[in-house]
Symmetry: C2
Subunit: 419 residues, 2 copies
C-alpha cells in the first residue's frame, strides 16, 4: 500500500502532551490545562426555547443549505457588535461566518501562505494558529514580546530584514497563552510599522469581550488607514463553543477570496447554529451573560493569583491577566515543565507545558494555566498540588529531570499515545 502523503504532512504531528492530557477527562484530575469555558454559564435552557421557535417559524430554511458568506442577519449583528464595542466600521458584507475562528485561521493560511513565507508572531503565540498554518509550510519569526506586546524596534528590524513576510499575527487582548494585553503605544507602533510596509495584520480577538477590569484598548483595525487588518472573532468564549460559530472581518478583496476558500472547505457553517446565535443576540440578555462570565472568571483568576502568590516557591514568575482564560508561568530556568507535568499528573493536577506555544521550540521552563473551567476551591487545591510537586522536583538531587521524563513516557506508552 502506498501512503504517499503530501510533503506538508512532515509538519503535522500529534502532540504527546495533548494525548497525555486526554487522561484528565476520565480521572479525578484538577485540569488547569484545557481552554474550556465554564459550562455552568452556557445558555442551555435559552437555546432549547429559541431552537423550538426557530424551527417552528423557519424550520425549512434552518435545516437547508445556506450561503457560504453566512446567515445575513448574523453578519449584520456581528458587524454591529464589533463596531459598537471596538469602534471599528465594518459593514456586514465584510464579515464571513466561519466554523469557529479556528477555521478563520485555516482559510487565512490558505489565502496567503506559500511554502517558505514568513509569519511574524508574538513569542509565545496561540498553538491553534501554529497547527492551522504549519500545513502551509511557513517560516515562523517570533518577535520578542514583553508584558506590553511585541518589542517595537525588534519588530521594525525583523520587518526590514525579512523578505517574505505575509502577515503579522497577534492576539492583542488577554493573549492565549500568556494572558498579556498590548498597550496602546505598542498597538500604534505595530500598526505604523505594518502600514508603512503594507503588511497584513491578523488581529485575533477571541477573549477581548471577557474583561475583568480597566477599559478596552482600541482594536488595531481603528489604526488601519490602508485596510490591512483582518480581524478574527468567535462566540465560543461569550456564548458557547459547541455551536462552532466564529467570523473573519476584512476588506472586500480579501473577504471575497476567503468566501471562495470557505466554499471549498465546508460549503458553509451550519445554518441552524447561525440562526441560534442570531436569535440569542436579538432575544436580550446576551450582553448580560458576558458580564456574568467576566464576573465568574475574575473570581477564578483572583483565586489562582492568590494561590500562586501564596504557594509558589521563589523564582516562579507569573502574569496577571486583566481578562480572558489564561495566565502564564515561568519556572526557574533549570525546571522542565514536562517533567513537572508528569509529577503533577500523579498528584492529580494538569496544565499545558509552554514549549508548544513557541513555533520554533525552546522555553521548556514555561507553562500555561487555565482558570475558566474550575471553581476557586479546586483552583486553589490545584495550585497547592503543583507547588508541592515543584518543590519536590527541585529538591531532588539525583537526575530529577530524567526520571520525570521517564514517568511521562511511561504514561504515554500505557495509553497508546502517538508521538
Amino acid at each position: 500500500m502506498r501512503t504517499a502523503f503530501a510533503k506538508r504532512m512532515g509538519r503535522v504531528r500529534a502532540s504527546d502532551i495533548r494525548e497525555l492530557l486526554k487522561l484528565t477527562v476520565n480521572r479525578d484530575v484538577i485540569s488547569l490545562a484545557g481552554g474550556l469555558p465554564a459550562p455552568e454559564l452556557f445558555p442551555v435552557s435559552e437555546l432549547a426555547d429559541l431552537t423550538s421557535k426557530i424551527l417552528d417559524e423557519h424550520g425549512a430554511a434552518a435545516l437547508q443549505y445556506s450561503p457560504s458568506e453566512g446567515h445575513e442577519p448574523l453578519r449584520a449583528q456581528i458587524a454591529a457588535r464589533m463596531n459598537a464595542r471596538w469602534k471599528t466600521s465594518y459593514a456586514s458584507d465584510q464579515i464571513l461566518v466561519t466554523t469557529g475562528s479556528q477555521q478563520g485561521l485555516d482559510l487565512i493560511g490558505k489565502l496567503f501562505l506559500d511554502e517558505g513565507d514568513e509569519i511574524l508572531c508574538e513569542s509565545p503565540t496561540y498553538v491553534g494558529a501554529i497547527s492551522a498554518w504549519n500545513v502551509f509550510q511557513p517560516r515562523w519569526v517570533e518577535v520578542p514580546t514583553d508584558d506590553d506586546g511585541m518589542n517595537a524596534s525588534e519588530l521594525e528590524r525583523l520587518l526590514d530584514a525579512r523578505r517574505q513576510v505575509k502577515f503579522i499575527y497577534v492576539v492583542p487582548n488577554f493573549q492565549n497563552p500568556s494572558g498579556r494585553t498590548w498597550s496602546l503605544e505598542r498597538r500604534r507602533l505595530l500598526m505604523e510599522a505594518a502600514t508603512r510596509r503594507g503588511v497584513h495584520v491578523i488581529e485575533d480577538n477571541p477573549y477581548g469581550e471577557v474583561r475583568f477590569e480597566g477599559a478596552d484598548l482600541p482594536s488595531l483595525r481603528t489604526m488601519d488607514p490602508e485596510g490591512l487588518v483582518i480581524t478574527l472573532g468567535t462566540f465560543s468564549k461569550i456564548f458557547c463553543p459547541g455551536l462552532r460559530i466564529g467570523w473573519v472581518a476584512a476588506d472586500a478583496p480579501v473577504l471575497a477570496k476567503l468566501v471562495l476558500l470557505k466554499q471549498g472547505a465546508d460549503l458553509h457553517t451550519p445554518t441552524l447554529n447561525q440562526m441560534q446565535v442570531s436569535a440569542s443576540i436579538n432575544g436580550g440578555g446576551f450582553e448580560e451573560r458576558i458580564a456574568r462570565i467576566a464576573d465568574v472568571y475574575r473570581e477564578r483568576r483572583d483565586a489562582m493569583m492568590s494561590a500562586l502568590e501564596r504557594e509558589m516557591p521563589a523564582g516562579v514568575r507569573f502574569t496577571r491577566p486583566a481578562g480572558g482564560l489564561f495566565l502564564w508561568v515561568n519556572l526557574p530556568p533549570e525546571v522542565n515543565a514536562r517533567a513537572l507535568l508528569a509529577r503533577c499528573m500523579d498528584a492529580g493536577v494538569a496544565f499545558v507545558p509552554g514549549e508548544g506555544f513557541f513555533p520554533n521550540g525552546g522555553h521548556v521552563n514555561t507553562l500555561r494555566l487555565n482558570f475558566s473551567n474550575m471553581p476557586p476551591a479546586r483552583i486553589e487545591e490545584g495550585i497547592r498540588r503543583m507547588a508541592a510537586a515543584l518543590r519536590l522536583l527541585t529538591s531532588e538531587s539525583a537526575t530529577p529531570a530524567r526520571s520525570a521524563e521517564n514517568t511521562l513516557a511511561a504514561v504515554s506508552a500505557r495509553e497508546g499515545s502517538r508521538s
Copy 2:
C-alpha cells in the same frame, strides 16, 4: 497595500454561473439548478423535540468543545449504518465526523496533494471536489466514463502512463452530476487496478441511500483487500444539510492524519449537531424517512423523465438515474448550454451548464438537471420552458450562439457578478 496571495489562489475563481444562479432565489424561477434536498421532508418538529431533550439531559456537554474525531456514539452509529447497508466492516475508530462531506474532500486534498500530483476522476466529476482540491494545485486526469462507470482499459492505461497519481476519485452511486451508477463489473475492475498498484480510491457516496429501484451495488470498500478505499458519507441528503454532518471512513494510518488536519481546520464539528443526528438515529423513524425521501424523489425523477421525453427535440440525450438528485443532458453538439441558460433565465427556468463539472473544461453542450427541489408540476413546466427555449435557440439562423452569450454577459454585469 500588498495583496500577495498564495500561488494556489490562481486556481481559485468565482463562478459566473453560480453568481447568475443566485438570481433564481429572489425571482419566480423554476430552479432545476441547485442541489437542494426537498425541505418539506426535513425533520423539523422532530428536531425541536430532540434538541430540547438533549439540552435538558446533556446541555453542558452539547455546548462544550468536543473531540476532533467526533462524538463517540455518532461514530459508532455511522460505522454500524454503513456496515449494515454496504456490507463494509468499518470500526467506529475508523470514522471521522466532518463539517459536511465537503470538509472530507478538503482534508483528503490536504493530506495527499502536492502541486502537480494527479487525480484520476470520472468525466464529468463532482464540482465540489474540483473546488476543494484545486487549491492544492493538482493535475486532473479525466478517465473516459460511460453509463457503467470508468472505461476500465483506459483507466489501466492512464494508471500506467501517469507517474504522480495520488488517488482515484469516484461517486459510484447516482453520481453528481451525471446520475450514473457504476456496474458491478466496473467496480471490480477499478478495485483490481487500484489494488495492483496500491493507489488510494476515494469513494464518495452522498446519494447511495436514496435509491428509487433495483438493488444496492457493493461498496468499493468490500473489494479492497489492502484498505486503500477512503469512503465519504453525509447526512445532508438523508436527514438535512443545514446541520453540516458528514464523515470520512478510512484505515487507521490515514484516519489519524485526517484527525490532525481536522483539528487545525476547525477543531471539531459542532457538538450539538452531532448529538442531534445521533439522537434521531436512535429515536426511530430515521430509516423510514429515507424511504419517504426516495419515494418523493422517484416521483420527481419520473416527472422529469416523462417531460424530457415528451418535450425535448430530437438530438437531446439524457441519463435515467436509479436514485439521487440529478440527471445529465447532452444537447446537440452545436448548442452551447450557457447560451441556453441565458434564454432559460429569461423564460423563468434555471439549470447548471455542464462545463464546470469537467476539471479540464470543454463539453459546452452538456448540462445538469436537479429534480429533488421542485414538485412534479413545476418540473414539467420547467422542462417545457427549457425545450421551448432550446427550439427557439436552434431555429435562429443569424449567429444565435453569440447573441445568447451577450444576453448572459448582460445579466452577469447587471448583477455585479464576478467573472
